[in-house]
């Protein structure tokens, strides 16, 4: 699948408290409302400026902190098609894949805010159309790739009934 969109660049250590803060805990059973506040404490205009299909591009350790799956879920609901990051926190990584939000590990230093990207998920190829460079994506474990290909863990389990790690 080919994804295209614009880059919203963030720095290192974007925590789940910045993505979906505790002060909005009362909205966790109202995800469409919570999604209107996605990453608000890191960039108050993020949701307003984002167009469906755009990318979050970050430095290292994206999604550190709490296990709240609401974080990747509202990023996906707000229209982000994939997260490109130098490294990702463990729980956030599993959660993102489980809700069908691709997280691609790559060297994001040369990608700038506002760049236009083309991402070939199948081939794992990222092209920065603005500065005409290609990025190499670190492969994810097979099991995660298969869960992502099914669209997340719920569709995966509906189909396979259990974990198939062969």
């Amino acid at each position: 699948m080919m994804l295209t969109g614009k880059v919203f660049k963030f720095g290192d250590n974007i925590s789940t408290d910045l993505i979906a803060p505790g002060r909005l805990l009362h909205l966790r059973s109202n995800l469409p409302e919570l999604a209107r506040h996605t990453l608000e404490d890191a960039d108050p205009t993020f949701v307003k400026r984002l167009k469906k299909g755009d990318f979050i591009v970050a430095g290292k350790n994206f999604g550190l902190g709490s296990s709240r799956e609401h974080a990747p879920l509202i990023i996906k609901m707000s229209g982000v098609s994939a997260i490109l990051t130098k490294s990702v926190a463990r729980i956030f990584f599993r959660n993102a894949i489980n809700v069908g939000l691709p997280v691609l590990i790559c060297d994001t230093d040369k990608v700038n805010d506002g760049d236009k990207l083309e991402v070939d998920l199948k081939k794992g190829e990222i092209t920065d159309l603005t500065n005409k460079t290609k990025l190499y994506v670190n492969p994810m474990p097979d099991i995660m790739l298969r869960i992502l290909e099914e669209g997340g863990l719920i569709p995966y389990i509906k189909k396979h009934k259990s974990f198939d790690i062969r």
């Binding site: 805990l25 729980i91 719920i154």
Partner: protein, 417 residues
């Protein structure tokens, strides 16, 4: 070939000989959610069409993050969790019973268990040599239904601690020092395994503090051996028969080894807005603090309250500094009452709030105002963590917290010891 603690537990439970890098499917000994992640877990479970619970007697729903509830939406989430527990026969831990990780340690975790919880600080039970790790709602929904999950066997960083803590130095100082040294992503996807003579003499309370914060270095688990300390702790909780000894093999393969000399540690503090932004307390002493918070799954145990009360006895909090204390569980509260610590704290000007997560996550019981600074014994100081992105959070030991409450500014606790 020798095995690390992580490899030993995952080999035993998957009934295969595994080493770091392998992917395994393992049966689960305990699965839990809390009130901020539970409702999504139950909705995902419903969505998956797997409407059964594999083992209700080892499935727990904790009401601790917003407890008692401060908002009608959260009260409705509580209704949802209570009715699910009743319908499925799962265990419900009501408001006021305590923080999930403390109750798991007191009443459920056993050496060699595999425990998954919809909360990142599930790693706390690693103090009892349980392979305990946090996951999100969907993973936990599937774990509840199938009684199993998939895991990558982690590489292990061995942390060897030498020597005794000097006066005024605690487990919290050690783990903050370690996180400062290796960074907030220094152990991502990996196991931290603690050993050495200091670890052998550490109390369970200290081990729980350290294991709790393993995730702040990105770790999947923070593991301690199961030894005589574990046995005594289990006996003290009325679960002595659940003890088994567990230690890594002497010839286990580690990705790396980090050595810490306890004698060289200083009272340590983590500064806003990342946990790895650490400094010796003396370097930031004198910074004005508006609120001191003592509690949480990191430092809300009896030992922590005893240390804080010891410093505050006969003294008062500074008039411009609020002091909030949340015992980690009902058991802790009852023992602290019996030992007189709660009276001491109240006399010093503390506000006691119910056992639970309290002010830690920014939903109630101590939300910070604009520009305010809090010194907390909790585990996270991310921007916005305590309910306000315009506030500043410092993390330190209960002793540093108590000393800071007295002077109203960041204070090295050794002047009171």
């Amino acid at each position: 070939m020798g095995k690390t603690l992580a490899e030993k537990i995952l080999s035993a439970k998957s009934d295969t000989d595994v080493c770091a890098g392998n992917i395994v499917v393992v049966p689960l000994d305990l699965v839990f959610v809390q009130d901020s992640t539970g409702p999504l877990t139950l909705r995902q479970l419903n969505e998956s069409n797997l409407n059964t619970i594999h083992n209700p007697k080892r499935t727990i729903l904790f009401l601790d993050h917003s407890a008692p509830s401060p908002a009608k939406e959260l009260s409705n989430d509580h209704i949802f969790l209570r009715s699910f527990a009743k319908e499925k026969g799962a265990i419900l831990s009501e408001i006021g019973e305590g923080v999930c990780h403390q109750i798991v340690a007191e009443s459920f975790a056993r050496p060699e268990d595999i425990i998954v919880g919809a909360d990142s600080h599930t790693v706390t039970a690693g103090a009892l040599a349980a392979f305990a790790t946090g996951m999100g709602s969907t993973d936990i929904a599937v774990a509840m239904a199938l009684g199993q999950t998939w895991l990558r066997v982690p590489e292990t960083i061995r942390v060897i601690v030498h020597g005794r803590f000097a006066k005024g130095i605690y487990a919290k100082d050690l783990i903050l020092h370690l996180i400062g040294r290796i960074g907030a992503d220094g152990a991502t996807y990996k196991a931290l395994e603690f050993g050495g003579e200091t670890v052998a003499t550490m109390t369970m309370s200290e081990r729980l503090t350290i294991a709790n914060m393993a995730v702040e270095a990105g770790a999947k688990v923070g593991l301690f051996p199961s030894d005589s300390t574990t046995q005594r702790y289990l006996e003290d909780q009325g679960r002595g028969e659940q003890y088994i000894a567990l230690a890594p093999d002497p010839d286990a393969t580690y990705e790396s080894t980090t050595e810490i000399y306890a004698t060289e540690l200083e009272p340590t503090i983590s500064q806003p807005h990342t946990v790895d932004n650490v400094a010796p307390v003396k370097e930031v002493a004198g910074i004005h603090i508006d609120q001191v918070f003592i509690g949480t799954c990191t430092n809300g145990r009896l030992d922590d309250i005893r240390i804080a009360a010891g410093i505050l006895k006969g003294r008062k909090r500074h008039s411009h500094t609020r002091l909030i204390v949340a015992p980690a569980s009902q058991k802790v509260l009852l023992r602290a009452l019996a030992e007189g610590h709660i009276a001491t704290l109240v006399e010093s000007g503390a506000t006691i709030v119910p056992p639970g997560c309290a002010a830690c996550l920014g939903v109630h019981q101590g939300v910070l105002g604009d520009g305010e600074r809090c010194l907390s014994t909790s585990n996270r100081n991310f921007k916005g963590r305590m309910g306000n992105p315009a506030a500043f959070i410092y993390l330190a030991s209960p002793a540093t917290a108590a000393a800071t409450a007295i002077h109203g500014e960041i204070t090295d606790p050794r002047e009171f010891l």
